[in-house]
Symmetry: C2
Subunit: 123 residues, 2 copies
């Protein structure tokens, strides 16, 4: 799936995405996936019991709420969310995000519900 | 090692690095490491037989030479180098790079030699 001889441009990939909260795969490294996603507003509380999850902010300011605090992540910054930690992403204005996590991880963890995005959609 | 409640700023980390070709760990996700590195000039031919390796360019223009071609990667771009592919990074001017690969991967693969950097040094 990964084009082995061409760089992947984040902005070009994000320009092809029109819907919010729908992660799109842009590359794979071993059994991990790189996904870009546009988000705005509130998400739901969830966790990923089996894996850490990495957030790299490409544009905007992301806040991740925890049950006992929050972290703010801006452009040029990353954050590794440890597995099992309940969290809720929030973006007051639109945020462009790069996610890195193992193949098969759902955006809602095991919380499920109508905010669950389809997996393995490439852009 | 990873501070679980604070964003990691790439520029701040890179500002602490003065030597070239010495990757420094800034975060871990499961058994993977995120490393920042400043490079300029030529590296050696090598490969990583057991794992893919991800390059994200933060500043400058990186070229990765293959035995049968090359790829150019600029700011806001990434490239996943498949395992087992011989390659040689090259930066005509200084490049700031984010590397993602499993813990324990050496910068020279199994080529060894005096360009091999010490592993697991955090910044």
């Amino acid at each position: 799936m990964t084009n082995t001889r061409q760089a992947i441009n984040f902005s070009e990939k994000l320009a092809k995405i029109t819907d919010l909260w729908q992660p799109r795969v842009i590359a794979e490294m071993n059994d991990y996936q790189f996904k870009v996603v546009r988000i705005e507003g509130d998400f739901i509380w969830h966790d990923h019991v089996d894996t850490d999850e990495t957030f790299i902010v490409l544009r905007g300011q992301l806040r991740i709420d925890f049950r006992d605090g929050a972290v703010s992540i801006g452009p040029g910054e990353m954050f590794v969310l440890p597995k099992g930690v309940e969290h809720k992403p929030f973006a007051e204005k639109e945020v462009y995000l790069l996610l890195i996590e193992p193949r098969g991880v759902l955006n809602t963890g095991h919380a499920g519900g109508d905010r669950t995005a389809q997996n393995d959609i490439w852009v």
